[in-house]
Subunit: 395 residues, 2 copies
Amino acid sequence: MINQYYTSMLSEKDVIFEIFQYAQEKAKIVGAENIYDFSLGNPSVPAPASVNDTIIKNVRELDALSLHGYSPGMGVPEARAAIAESLNAKYGCHYKAENIFMAIGAAGALAHAFRAVNNPGDTVLTFAPCFSEYKPYTAGASLKLSIVPADTDSFQINFAAFEEMLTPAVTSVLINSPNNPSGIVYSTETIERLAAILNAKSEEFGHPIYLISDEPYRDIVFTGTDSPYIANYYKNTLTCYSFSKSLSLPGERIGYLAVNPDCEGAADIIAICPQISRTIGQNGPASLMQRTIIDVCGDTSDLSVYEENKKILYDALISYGYSCVEPGGTFYMFPRSLEPDSYAFCEKAREKNLILVPGDIFGCPGHFRIAYCVPTERIRKALPVFKELAEEYLK
Amino acid sequence: MINQYYTSMLSEKDVIFEIFQYAQEKAKIVGAENIYDFSLGNPSVPAPASVNDTIIKNVRELDALSLHGYSPGMGVPEARAAIAESLNAKYGCHYKAENIFMAIGAAGALAHAFRAVNNPGDTVLTFAPCFSEYKPYTAGASLKLSIVPADTDSFQINFAAFEEMLTPAVTSVLINSPNNPSGIVYSTETIERLAAILNAKSEEFGHPIYLISDEPYRDIVFTGTDSPYIANYYKNTLTCYSFSKSLSLPGERIGYLAVNPDCEGAADIIAICPQISRTIGQNGPASLMQRTIIDVCGDTSDLSVYEENKKILYDALISYGYSCVEPGGTFYMFPRSLEPDSYAFCEKAREKNLILVPGDIFGCPGHFRIAYCVPTERIRKALPVFKELAEEYLK
């Protein structure tokens, strides 16, 4: 009989995708140029030329059998080594190839991290606002997900609520900085305080609390933002990374799990990753992409447009009377909605063909997300619409 | 705390991989030319030129943002349509694009199939000899796997044992034809009889019994072998396919799940596949590979070497006194071991640098697997060693 759990998921709306589909349909009626679609976090700048050049070079020069052949369960050794080196050079860590597990994007890395350092029934603690997919990700690993309410003044960590919710049932803590949807980057102060609490509580509880750090936006950080490399501050850190945003390759499904070499059980955690793959039908990213990453893992797309978009949009919104914590990175912004019900607010925006995502689905009502990974021209054209919307509320 | 279940999997030996590693190590000592390694099912013929040509064309001609961008949860629509068309042309079916779900190889397709048409605790019935990975695949979906003993005279289905084991707890039946490890292809007669039993029992039990057909070797069938397209014989069939073997692309992790349009709940089964993906960290195969498959899904590598290898090896083994059911496809052969303990037999072969895999790990003791996807020259060179081994037992 058809699976009941997955069938029940069909009735939980995938709000972001429905909004995106609405925008696509509406565009057919009123013309794409009249729809201001800020619903999806799809990179708007192409992959750097080095990616396509390397793909072509690999296809031309490598032996077809090894290029397209099975890669080892952990991933292509040279890709793992290149990533370790790149991290060490950039952040002064001491990863070796054997600390890196090649994964099918950040989603694949998280699927392994959740299963590696937790057992069914354990609790994972994360912080609002957070990516809506964390719920199915943890549910699929038979874990409970608890969400610490947001500190809406800063979108750093609400430590009072966190310490209250950090019970012995919590086996890992999940963070996402730079953050989707707020665009906020956790400061060194935040990470140091988080690490101190996790160390103290690990000792008190008599078991390690692992920090699972979801970092697909790590390379999209704006000028002047304090952006610590998290694993350097807490030894029991599993870093989940994807090249989706930094290299504009979301469809190629390539990323990795980096286990801090000083992590408790570091070798065992990596060792069981291929076992996890066997139970969830994964066998690593496409070999052609793994071989390409060897050469390009230190590169990025031209990410400057996101900072430019942020500046134009943020300055304008503030001048129109919106209230917003200024993003330090990503391509998201998370202002307060101009009425408490963010669904109603987004509905009103939608009447003006301005497509926004209500904050409730990120565990943070009273806000809305703008994905400003669009051509700058589109931002400029949308400003009068944001202004008009504000005037209706604030007149 | 580190996951106990996955840690326990580490102590279950991955026998095939250990054997392969032994062969690699031994090759360093005695020289690769003196090791006859028949352990791994890795294609030995390169991908057809059309694959690399299409990759290069796509990289050069397609817009980078759409080429490398997110693909829909179901897969790239044009790839789904091309696969449906190709199946219809080849087998006279009537798939539409919406019956096809793009998956990360056959493993990804099976991961979705198992979760789609079963609920946790249900029983999946399969047939010995069978692929050793079916155990973790079903365990990961919280399913019980029951294995029907082999009919070792033909490696078709042991129907007496099957009918006894087909209880109301069975919600799906898993078959793999052409078969790894036996190389046998289920005949039209076998499939018709299987379908008749499944239809009768579905009615008796009051619930559909789904047939999950794992077909990565479907395109490697030898001249004269009766090779029915299984979904044409039983409507509740989910076909899991991979381009790994037919196009020699095992590392690129691309395949699909095709749901028979007449299948009970066909639309729902496909609809929940992306929901399943959300819980197991998958988001479809690499977009570049999906776009490449649009053009090459009807092609194959030059697969004739496998038939040539089969003929040489099979004829020689029979002449040396081995007993073996002649394969109808794949690049595997599954003779009887010359002593009942297949581990002891393979150990004795190993002393002669002949690397074979014991049948026990496929649920079929007293046999051994030869993966003859190697250059024909290697087969010829190994023949005297097979002969010498037989002589020791049969003198």
